[in-house]
Symmetry: D2
Subunit: 350 residues, 4 copies
């Protein structure tokens, strides 16, 4: 089988490194090029990168010469881990030039004709690609995005509850790992033995809005947003990987804890049906132990692609409350984008 060539944009960054790690020996995709800023372009990857993962740089990438982020590679997909300060222009250039841009950056997430996909939840929103092509005069190129990492912790859980019982409103307090801020990112002086009750980049705004698009309905060539009211409070914590979230929800229909657990445990989506390579067997892992999920113990479940939920119990103010967890740089970033690309592949949209 011929693999599809892909290029990694922003290849030296935190998300770029995860793309490279997770795409090593991928059954569908082959990294044909790595691209980064001018500062790195022209250097061997291993010489330009400050590699921060605990597996070595894949052999095939080590000596690859970094290219500029110009749409001149022999590749069908451009995975983008670009910083939002430059992602806008570069991603658009790649889309215009015929590349399928699968982006983790925030720039186009909320554009009306750009799919914002969590494959288990809204695979059907890929229909926006045709709208996008038409709107923008793209021929083969397009942009597909995934959401902000902190949202992924609770999104599939809220989806299941919403589909079955209707979610009216929710509060969510996040405790987010430092890897979410990239490198150098959070200074150790700020976070060692400390918590910072704030995250820059309009994190709370994203949490308030992005889920509404993902949970929305594709109708008449556009997404009708979900109406769930979301109140987020974000915190940075001294954890390396894994965003934890304390969530309370108000439901439209009555249910009970056992029924909710059953729906959550049994939930499967399109990636599971299609047996996509990065699809977790169970998108949501329900924990019964009273003190789980925990970042250190649970982020690696199903290779970091499953989210966890635990401590499901009644809420004294809304209806129910629980704790969610996602591996923020796998399911919450690079892994999410790869799963999006696998979905495109399986749907023959590449």
């Amino acid at each position: 089988m011929n693999k599809i060539n892909v290029v990694i944009l922003g290849a030296t960054g935190t998300v770029g490194q995860r793309f490279i790690q997770l795409l090593d020996h991928h059954p569908y995709f082959e990294i044909a090029a790595v691209a980064a800023s001018e500062k790195s372009a022209g250097k061997k990857y291993k010489d330009a990168v400050a590699w921060k993962l605990d597996t070595p740089i894949p052999r095939s990438i080590q000596d690859m010469v970094i290219q500029n982020c110009k749409p001149a590679m022999d590749a069908r997909i451009a995975f983008s881990g670009l910083d939002s300060s430059v992602a806008g222009e570069i991603e658009m250039a790649f889309a215009k030039n015929g590349y399928a841009v699968v982006s983790n950056s925030k720039n186009y997430r909320m554009e009306p004709d750009v799919p914002l996909i969590y494959p288990e939840v809204n695979a059907d929103h890929l229909a926006l690609i045709d709208v996008q092509k038409k709107n923008r005069g793209f021929r083969n190129g397009f942009i597909v995005t995934n959401s902000n990492c902190s949202i992924m912790s609770f999104l599939p859980v809220i989806h299941v509850l919403d589909k079955n019982f209707g979610v009216e409103k929710m509060t969510v307090v996040t405790m987010q790992a430092v890897s979410g801020a990239g490198y150098p990112g959070v200074a150790s002086l700020d976070i060692l033995g400390n918590i910072v009750p704030y995250i820059g980049g309009e994190e709370e705004e994203k949490i308030r809005t992005e889920p509404l698009k993902i949970l929305g309905k594709f109708e008449n060539e556009r997404i009708r947003y979900s109406g769930i009211q979301i109140s987020p409070s974000v915190n940075r914590v001294p954890v390396m990987d894994g965003h934890l979230a304390s969530v309370s929800v108000k439901l439209k229909k009555t249910t009970d804890i056992e029924e909710m657990k059953t729906f959550l445990k049994n939930f499967r989506g399109v990636p599971q049906e299609l047996k996509l390579p990065h699809a977790p067997q169970r998108p949501i892992i329900v924990h019964d132990a009273i003190d789980r999920p925990q970042p250190r113990l649970d982020i690696h479940l199903d290779k970091g692609m499953a989210v966890s939920v635990g401590r499901i119990r009644p809420c004294e103010v809304l209806d129910y409350k629980f704790t969610c967890l996602v591996h923020n740089t796998i399911r919450g970033a690079a892994g999410a984008a790869i799963l999006n690309a696998e979905l495109l592949y399986a749907k023959k949209m590449l």
Copy 2:
């Protein structure tokens, strides 16, 4: 001036150590005895204690011989940092034998005739002492308590909002320091680079109920509880000292952020009027910086006796949300008990 003799019960524990540190050179009180379990009794304090504070053991205490927790000391006050497994019996024995027991333990907090005091909020609840004495046939002895440490982070803030605007309901997600669990307490394997979304000892139950008593009204020789609905979610975080809390509230009257800030900043209580030695100048410090309060930077404000509140902003689900912080072993434990004792002293109730 003659100082009042006090004894520290549970003197070798985490709270006991703070009592000893904070009472060094106290203007009203003099540590006349230290008491602990049989294992430690008979030893010099410095030989029995695993001292974990970053100031040395006060000279006057180092060689003091630890006594059994029996009511046979020449002391008027018994400060109790006892573990709840033993506090019940011992504290009662001291109260019966004429000691003013000022306790940080949970055992008697919710007894109808035992004052649960946050001096800036409900100093008038000390009137329960007479009820208690009558009920129980105590002559000079009695028990006064302070609340669980995690509650202290938000309690004075909620009190100010409740008094001025009426608080109907609230959610609170805590991020609690390891010192709150005593020693050895939380295993490093559980918390290094990790978060545990659970705290034993019915922490959430305490948060749900203790504030209702403190915020209640003394009427007809008893406390009529507040009716605020509180939904707590607790987390243990890798922070040494300082409990942080993300709070959302629903108010009965409308207000705005500036008005709330003004009331919070201007709030003063009985300890400030009486200029008690451990009274913070400002019981509540309102932070305007977008990323505050933080445990590392703000727990020491006003010698650890002020609580902090920041990030006051509208809540999309309830009305307003904000972040609170308390030094859990000072204002949240030993310092709280000492302030209670100073209040008793100033009110001539000793």
Copy 3:
């Protein structure tokens, strides 16, 4: 192929958990029984264990009923992760009753007739097994041990230098992870944001003596110890896994850094020749980057079975100095024991 049945002694402990994790789907061995203290015996494994690894309990073990540590299992090998307070008696009982005891405990390491094995270094010391059997009247049973975890960080490096250039003396300052102390082990109050320049259990004594046996020569049915003078200084650091060591050595012959690196990189031992399942491809990984090895980045190399060495440079007081690293609960404990067992298997000594 029929797998060999093994039992895990001390199955619920930190090392026991690693045994279970690493033996899952092992090509030679099958866990037929798990055994632990009376407190756990009779319970299902998943109900008795406080599982602290970031992969789930293997399915085949979850419901296995824990047995007492009595030599009554249908198994050929007893892997021991027992606490030293009980390991002495139990391991001896198993050896007497015909089990091959492959132990990570310290109790018998320094017994003259018990092999203390680091397979790449002194596989020939297994000849002590016959001596042991003769001495003690064992028929099929025997005890084989591996060294203390902190030693593993530098041992193979010292072996290569000693073999090629002669090591006369060395200083070693360790920075050891908390997982080395088991569970609950190190209290978070002691180690969060802190360093403790001491480790109990005679850690420095072990570092001074155990390497001398491993690096010794088997002659006349006994081990003639190496004469290297070792000066250890141990520290506990807030790291989850990975013991780091700063080492300085005085050599007998002159060499240079490039020559040392070449010998270290090219070093292979018996496990590599025999292609044992847990043998790292390269027992020693030599880092050229100026800031490596680091626990977070390098402990997982070769599945945690390779040790790392870096920063090789001249020492102003002795001859050369460098930094070593080992995954303390894999290569430094359970993985070491498993490699010992694989060696026994390949040598047909089971």
Copy 4:
């Protein structure tokens, strides 16, 4: 008494902040001006600084307008916490223009005519000031420096041993806190739960050489360097404040542990004789507990101005070994410079 006006150069940096904190209400000195880079100049101090200390910005400084680092202030002393990339030029300009520059920067430390002072050890080296003035044609201005922070942990201990027994050589492995790297300094991704066996800025070179100057003798208008051979190995650890060092020494004369302890405990220097405000009562605190000193517990001793030494025991390779500790931003940086200035004041050299 009229206080002496001082200016803080690099006032917004990590060391500059400590200067401001420690000089608040100083008996000799008054901060008359704060200066920083052009980016900050013209702003109020509180608006320009990312204040990272756990006490608030002193009231008198909050609204002070930051000046450029030009020698145009009404001040006698310029305390410099400047980054070495700019310290060279600026400090020289201030010295030329008549200011007493008391610097924590590395730029002039090793200049033959610039005193590198640890007041308890080599107060007499201040005689170099006259040489410096003569050499450079300064009238009232001059530069005095203190050493790198990591050196301070062991320097007074080595001085006492050297004076009494002669130190021939020493190895030192440091475990250095993140605050030593300034802000933003060490990225949390690099150090959370990790150790980095390297520190930039030629840290090991400084440790090898700066002590030789401090421990040298002033003779014939210059310093004859000490001949101690020092082998340093540096590590960055996830600790906020406090540099720990494992040291081994070879002595010229024989002694024993008790004798060494006696000399170390009884050591007093010029700052103690002169009762300088920042002089610790005991420059060296000798710990007998087997697991001390520890950063979390011992850096604040004597307001962070005393160094600690413990675990004094024989070394199997050299003669003795022990563990040292210094508060790296107080005694190791700003506090050291202030003590130098206090010494100048008491010696009437201002």
